[in-house]
């Protein structure tokens, strides 16, 4: 006795193959959603208590990164400047601007400005700024053109696959030590050639073992 109509043979074949594609497609979807800026928050500028513009201070005025981020060459954290650093100039410049009232209030009261963290690595990953900037890794390699950001956003995904693109092939990204803090630096046409030379010169051996970053 024929329970199923003859056409269900086709349906069975399609659903077997279809399930494969649906599963693969689903997996692909999960991975892509995970990489998207919806999850990583890359490219999303954060509203801050003071709308501090790196575009103005770095791109426009030419301030060096280290004027404010004083510990970037010597410590894991680059350093968020104390309010005093703002007041070095803003005691006299824009000193009555309402925009800067939170800065003056912080200076008077001694209470910290509560900046919104933009780059928030997971807590099982240990990143060290000094290890990178002292070995020819430029600020903008990870942070993007900070000198063009009115409000800071996270340029990279900060996901492990992104870290590994450089840890596996530093010659693609390393730059001369003197250019590390130059936000306008553009890699030369012969980056790979220069990169291989610098990797030798700086003795770069970025490891890819788990315990390099996870402790």
């Amino acid at each position: 006795m024929q329970i199923f109509h003859h056409s269900t043979n086709t349906l069975a074949k399609v659903s077997i193959f279809g399930a494969l594609f649906a599963a693969a497609g689903g997996l692909w979807l999960v991975l892509e959603v995970n990489r998207s800026s919806y999850v990583t928050q890359a490219g999303v500028a954060r509203i801050q208590p003071v709308q501090f513009s790196h575009q103005h201070h770095v791109g426009g005025m030419g301030l060096d990164c280290r004027y404010c981020h004083t510990s970037v060459e010597t410590a894991a954290a680059a350093g968020i400047p104390p309010t005093q650093t703002c007041m070095n100039c803003h005691s006299q410049i824009w000193s009555t601007s309402p925009e800067l009232e939170p800065v003056r209030e912080s200076f008077r009261s001694g209470k910290s400005l509560e900046w919104v963290r933009v780059h928030d690595l997971p807590e099982f990953a240990y990143f060290n700024h000094s290890a990178h900037v002292n070995k020819g890794m430029g600020c903008t390699t990870c942070h993007g053109r900070i000198d063009r950001m009115p409000l800071v956003w996270q340029e990279a995904s900060l996901q492990m696959e992104w870290c590994l693109t450089c840890h596996r092939a530093p010659e693609k990204f390393v730059r001369p030590q003197a250019e590390v803090f130059n936000a306008a630096y553009e890699p030369p046409a012969d980056q790979l050639e220069l990169g291989r030379k610098l990797v030798q010169e700086y003795g770069l051996k970025p490891r890819t073992s788990c315990s390099t970053c996870h402790r």
Binding site: A19, R66, Q92, P122, F124, N182
Partner: protein
């Protein structure tokens, strides 16, 4: 119909995996993280006054205060080498050029925007001032200039003073200051300056 159901089940499992963030957000303090334990909301605690880290007692008054027997030091506390000068040039570029300008005339870009003009280094009074005078200004501030002690470590302050001395010489030199064998190069195009970190 089993295929789509299975896919949906797998998908929901896959999505559910990303939901727990306990390892991402561990109950510990990273630098600059806020704390609700302390009254001021900071996890980084200020040092009690007078704290001295082991091995960091500032016994060398010449090095740390720029003074010798209470007088502004007329000498540097360590030998000034080419690498110290290069370091001074780099640090001067980072911390001093905004007000003092690249050559030290007090015409930096912050001054151009209205900050009280810093004195030019190229006046007799400052050419005659001892190194300790400049060190003291960096460490404690001077006039409208705030203290840069928090931003510039001790050795770097002296390196900057050495570079200021070099700047002063550069703007106040005569042909007799040039070694005889180098005088022929005067008027020749200047060699490219050595790379200093950052752009200004």
């Amino acid at each position: 119909m089993r295929g789509p159901v299975l896919t949906a089940a797998l998908l929901s499992v896959a999505f559910a995996m990303g939901c727990r963030q306990d390892m991402h957000d561990q109950p510990k303090y990273k630098p600059y993280r806020a704390s609700d334990f302390w009254g001021d909301g900071r996890s980084a605690r200020p040092l009690p006054e007078g704290t001295v880290a082991r091995g960091h007692l500032r016994e060398d008054t010449h090095l740390f205060t720029g003074k010798v027997n209470g007088q502004l030091a007329a000498t540097f506390p360590f030998a000034i080498t080419e690498s110290v000068l290069a370091r001074g040039r780099e640090r001067y570029g980072i911390y001093c050029t905004p007000c003092h300008g690249l050559a030290g005339y007090g015409d930096g870009m912050v001054v151009a925007r209205g900050f009280r003009r810093a004195a030019s280094f190229h006046v007799d009074r400052l050419r005659e001032a001892p190194p300790g005078y400049f060190y003291d200004a960096i460490a404690n501030g001077f006039g409208a200039m705030p203290s840069y002690a928090a931003q510039i470590p001790v050795e770097d302050r002296w390196a900057i003073v050495a570079y200021v001395r070099a700047l002063q010489l550069s703007q106040h030199a005569t042909v007799s200051d040039v070694p005889p064998e180098k005088r022929g190069e005067l008027g020749a195009p200047a060699p490219a300056p050595p790379a200093a970190g950052g752009h200004h």
